[in-house]
């Protein structure tokens, strides 16, 4: 724990230092130095705080919904060649479409509040988790499945004791990878529609040409990512302790 904290402190020092040097070298108002930016975090805390929480709420709810829908479906497809034959091609057609293209229709259907943003992110997470979990379920060692079946396990018990635990590490990998995309989509959606969340904060600052304020928003967004990754780490340590 202490080591991790030290790691973060070190990373912050290095990043801030590089940023500072770059800002000095470029000498442009569009890239303020950390010394100009950090005070903005304090100055706008009253607005950044709620925007941060709203953004965090949207991502977390979307992650939960996307995972809750994709995990059982992915496990089922992975363990059933017949389902895979039927649904596999559908997945391959839909998966590569960047889900952001559905923003306009979602805005029309769901308004500009939380719902379209959550649905859009959940869609992205859904496909990523679905494909990863399906492949993980397919790759479960046959010897483990056969052994557990020979102990008298039902189909359900095989899922409980073998397929699900075997797929969990891959699930977390999928979540880590897709949360990067999720934050990018969140930014886009918040920037385009509505006036809440870090995306809106950053774009508003940009419109005002207040670059230090904009960078305060960017820092908050980076922090959002850190919160997500640490959340995944904690969950994975609890659920996949054997690693």
């Amino acid at each position: 724990m202490a080591r991790k904290f030290l790691g973060y402190v070190l990373a912050l020092v290095v990043i801030l230092l590089c940023w500072h040097l770059l800002a000095l070298a470029l000498d442009s108002p569009a890239l303020p130095t950390p010394l100009e930016t950090v005070p903005m975090l304090v100055l706008y805390a009253g607005q950044l705080g709620p925007d941060f929480l709203i953004s965090l709420y949207r991502v977390v709810v979307a992650l939960l919904i996307g995972t809750a829908l994709a995990m059982p479906l992915g496990l089922a497809i992975g363990r059933s060649p017949r389902l895979d034959t039927v649904l596999g091609p559908m997945l391959y057609i839909l998966y590569p479409i960047p889900k952001i293209v559905f923003l306009p229709i979602l805005l029309v259907l769901l308004g500009i509040a939380d719902a379209p943003k959550i649905v859009l992110i959940a869609l992205t997470i859904f496909f990523q988790v679905l494909i990863t979990v399906r492949d993980a379920a397919k790759a479960v060692p046959e010897a483990a499945v056969l052994s557990v079946r020979s102990l008298g396990a039902s189909r359900l018990a095989v899922f409980q004791h073998v397929v699900i635990p075997a797929s969990l590490p891959e699930l977390f990998t999928a979540l880590r990878i897709s949360s990067g995309t999720a934050v990018a989509i969140l930014f886009f959606a918040e920037a385009i529609a509505g006036s809440t969340g870090l995306g809106a904060f950053i774009v508003d600052s940009w419109a005002l040409l207040n670059y230090p304020r904009m960078f305060a928003g960017i820092i908050a967004m980076a922090f959002l990512g850190v919160v997500l990754y640490e959340l995944f780490d904690i969950l994975e340590r609890r659920l996949a302790r054997w690693r």
Partner: protein, 253 residues
């Protein structure tokens, strides 16, 4: 106990059909120790999966205690080549899994598992994960997992092939001790001639794929103490070696 009557098995896959077994017949008597040996790919593992009820034969019949079975049977234990342990469960959880799946009450279940781990020298490692065990310990854990279930038929697919010679002999003795004290029938697949002669009261030799029986060697002294250094042991081993040479190949370890 177990009888195969003219069992044939085909695998259907992307590369077409493969016939793994062709009219395999044999029986395992109650409390008997039987060894199945034969060239690589001749269908030994297939025969074990069929006996375990995890595959169904395409032709012929498989009877256990006179009855055909569809699906795994409670009294049959199976140990596969790489053990099929669950890396995400502790040694204790792995050992007790069969009882748990069968909804055996928790308190006696845990007490019995503890005794068994003690017997097999794994008590200290109850809270470790399989990934933290040596090969020999993993093998003993696989044994513990099936012995917890009070089996009357134990099927083992090259149970010791991943171990070095010294450990292998120690574990052969452990297998024999457990077999003698618990009185189940066992069917062991192996590549090793020495192992076959040390463990099998009868040794069935299979020919190349599609597998069928080509010879049978009776070996009544198997399981007796000190057999490994008896002249009879060497006589049987060389007899088996020449049988294998005439019928196919073998590693001859």
């Amino acid at each position: 106990m177990l009888s195969f009557g003219n069992v044939s098995k085909w695998y259907r896959g992307g590369a077409g059909e493969v016939q793994a077994l062709d009219g395999l017949s044999f029986t395992v008597e109650r409390e008997e120790s039987l060894v199945l040996i034969g060239p690589s790919g001749c269908g030994k593992s297939t025969a074990l999966l069929l006996a375990a009820g995890l595959l169904a034969p395409d032709a012929g019949s498989i009877l256990i205690e006179g009855r055909a079975h569809s699906g795994p049977r409670l009294g049959t234990g199976l140990i596969l080549q790489d053990y099929g342990l669950l890396p995400w469960k502790t040694v204790f959880e792995n050992a007790t899994l069969g009882l748990r799946i069968r909804r055996y009450p928790r308190a006696p279940r845990e007490a019995e598992t503890r005794v068994l781990l003690e017997q097999l020298g794994l008590a200290e490692f109850a809270q470790s994960y399989p990934g933290e065990l040596s090969g020999g310990m993993r093998q003993r854990l696989a044994l513990a997992r099936v012995l917890a279930l009070d089996v009357d038929l134990l099927l083992m697919d090259e149970p010791l092939s991943a171990l070095d010679l010294e450990l292998r002999e120690a574990l052969q003795d452990l297998l024999l001790t457990q077999w003698r004290s618990r009185g189940y029938a066992q069917l062991i697949v192996t590549h090793s001639i020495d192992e076959a002669v040390y463990l099998g009261q009868r040794i069935l030799v299979m020919g190349p794929r599609p597998g069928t029986l080509v010879a049978e060697l009776s070996n009544p002294l198997a399981g007796s103490s000190g057999y490994r250094s008896c002249p009879e042991f060497f006589a049987r081993a060389s007899q088996l070696r020449s049988l294998l040479l005439t019928t196919g190949d073998a590693d001859g370890a």
